[in-house]
Amino acid sequence: MASENDAIAVTGAVPAGQAESERAGMDRRGFLKTLGAAGACALTAGHAAAAPAGPDEEPCGVLVDTTRCAGCRTCERVCAEAHGLPAPDESDDVMKVVRSPSERALTVVNRYETRAGEVFVKRQCMHCLLPACASACLTRAMFKTPEGPVVWREKKCMGCRFCMVSCPFEVPRFEYHSPVPRIVKCSLCWDRLKAGQRPACVENCPAEALVFGKRSQLLEEAQRRIQGSPETYVHQIYGEREVGGTSYLYLAAVPFDQLGFRADLGDTAYPLLTREFLYGVPVVLTLLPALLLAISNATKENQDPSHHEATHGRLDAHTGNRA
């Protein structure tokens, strides 16, 4: 554990650009929740959201350590508050079934009985590095920000739900009972990030199960935890490679397929599944018409004698042929 604290002392520097008052209010616990020199992950105050990522700019993310999660579901509550959604049902009954994020709850905590005892797993959008949803979206309403979060933009979306079909984690949800429906999913609290704050769930997790920071540093931290207590963790960081890597990373004490994670998604980024097809499109668009025109001309020449005849009014011969 000592190594872990060292690491945080090194990397948990005060977020650049954050308001002085906030800086002062940040206790040790606050540091624990943020990794990396820029707590707001390259989102210094006033930083334009649309600014392109520099070569050294790195996506931020969240590390979820399920061995620390106590299942208090504070994240569910504060998430609902932060996004103006109905307060979640706090009773234990809802925990009896495995839930997915819904159009009324961007994040949910599930409980699993495992050989390591009860394990709680918070689920939400994984904020893939190469998101299927964004590459599926024909209006660029689903959009991968250079800073990491994958966000949905109301002004653009036409509601085709192709993002839902494509997302391997089945995250985007649709408001089926609204005449003006929206696609609903976790945005990694994009608005809070822009204001220099951390995601609401991370900010409020009392068990310190969530850490916010640059993805590379989260990975290092995760490795450190695994190496620090190899008997506690399975030696896998879910999200490190899955579907090309995700900004949400998970640590667990039992294999991930026992915790509702699909183990069969593969490491290939989903947009690559359609890339070959899309690369073929311009080729077909340029070559096929030329080919068709050539064939058409060739067949015209073949028919030339009859064509000649026909244009000179000898028509019945052809009608006869056809009959």
Partner: protein
């Protein structure tokens, strides 16, 4: 165009004349109380009511769509199956204008019309399914080009293809309204529109398959492969032609009186010819399916319920019609051709619905089953298309001879373009 020589005054009078002509033509021809009308009209009315509810209260009000099944009957059947059925237009125009197989010329107009209307109605049904249809212009005019999206490609191609088909069909409209010069000019665009249309079709027929490439983790392995786009493209050939064969049969019954003699006499040869193409492409398709199957080492999967269902689709409705088509061609049996065509169409419905619905999230015990509202709206779309088709066929020279001033030159070698011929005449 003819209009360019007109002064504003005469143009106005022209427009008025056309409006009167159009209003006159709008009146129904023939009996109103036919069994088809009596069946379809109430369903369409109900469909309209349901659509009003759908737009007022959201998709959930009349559909069984869910978070887990974002696409249901409207996408799976109306759009994806409907567009495969409409594939006949690009195949037939390819045979007539590119390969110049004159034999098929009599069915070009009706096939193009069918294709055009199928796209307008079935691809148009996508609008009913869009949650936010008022944003549909975004990927077209807007600053929101999602060029990495297969859906972007498909949407654009639908649009452009409708335009191409409209150009291909436009000489017919011009003949109907009696515009000689317009008919000539538009006719000269046919070859270009055809080539453009065929190119677009190959891309969006396969593109409809490519929509499912990223649903890799959700579609049963027997139906998922990286070759879905090619399978969709190849199957659109025999799907479209089977539709042409069946439509031809129905048209002869319904519109027999309007058909030109050329049409009647050529029917047999055309059906047999198309059947030969169907048999060939069905065989190619089977071959591809077998390759994918063997490559994926999927034999053990066959012993599951979905495996049997897969066999029903592939053996029952691909292999069998393939053999039937071949037999029909050899025996020159039109009846057998029709049976094979009908079975092929069933096979296409099965395949497209299997990919988009049955094999989608096959592991989920909660299944999507379309609501009655979804079925009624689907029927509404189909009936509406038939009504418009009938309206057009009964007025424009689609199956019938073109007006005298065209037919002299049109009938024999239309492939060389009306314009050229008219010049000579």
């Amino acid at each position: 165009m003819a209009v360019s020589t007109l002064t504003p005054g005469t143009a106005l009078r022209e427009a008025g004349g056309f409006l009167r002509f159009f209003l006159r033509e709008l009146k129904p021809k023939g009996k109103l109380l036919t069994p088809f009308n009596l069946l379809s009209a109430p369903i369409m009315l109900l469909g309209v009511v349901l659509l009003v509810i759908r737009f007022a209260r959201g998709l959930g009000a009349i559909t069984n769509l869910s978070q887990d099944y974002p696409w249901g009957l409207w996408v799976g059947f109306d759009v994806i199956t409907g567009v495969a059925f409409a594939g006949g237009a690009y195949v037939v125009t390819f045979m007539v204008y590119v390969l110049r197989q004159e034999k098929y010329h009599p069915i070009v107009r009706i096939t193009v019309l069918n294709g055009l209307l199928a796209y307008v109605f079935y691809a148009g049904a996508l609008l009913l399914d869009l949650g936010r249809p008022w944003k549909v212009v975004n990927p077209i005019i807007g600053n929101s080009f999602g060029v990495s999206s297969v859906m972007f490609l498909v949407a654009w191609h639908f649009l452009l293809y409708m335009l191409a088909e409209f150009i291909e069909f436009s000489p017919t409209v011009a003949e109907w309204v009696g515009r000689r010069r317009a008919a000539r000019v538009l006719g000269s665009l046919t070859l270009g529109a055809t080539i453009f249309g065929i190119t677009l079709s190959t891309l969006h027929q396969s593109g409809l398959g490519a929509l499912f490439l990223m649903a890799k983790s959700k579609i049963h392995p027997l139906w998922y492969s990286e070759f879905i786009p090619i399978l969709f493209l190849v199957s659109s050939v025999f799907a479209g032609l089977s539709m042409v064969i069946l439509e031809g049969t129905i048209s002869r019954k319904v519109f027999g009186a309007r058909m030109s003699p050329v049409h009647h006499t050529s029917h047999r040869g055309i059906v047999l010819g198309l059947s030969r193409v169907c048999a060939g492409t069905l065989f190619v398709y089977l071959f591809l399916k077998a390759l994918v199957f063997i490559h994926g080492q999927q034999v053990p999967l066959l012993a599951t319920p979905l495996g049997l269902w897969f066999l029903v689709e592939v053996a029952g409705f691909v292999l069998v019609p393939c053999v039937l088509f071949a037999l029909a061609v050899r025996r020159e049996s039109l009846a057998l051709c029709r049976v094979a065509a009908a079975m092929t169409l069933v096979g296409i419905v099965l395949n497209r619905l299997n990919v988009s619905i049955v094999a989608f999230r096959w592991y989920d015990p909660v299944r999507y089953v379309p609501s009655w509202g979804e079925v009624v709206v689907t029927l509404t779309v189909i009936f509406a298309e038939i009504w418009v088709l009938r309206w057009v066929v009964e007025r424009m020279p689609v199956l019938s001879e073109a007006p005298g001033w065209v037919s002299v030159v049109r009938a024999p070698v239309p492939a060389t373009g009306h314009a050229e011929l008219l010049k000579e005449a």
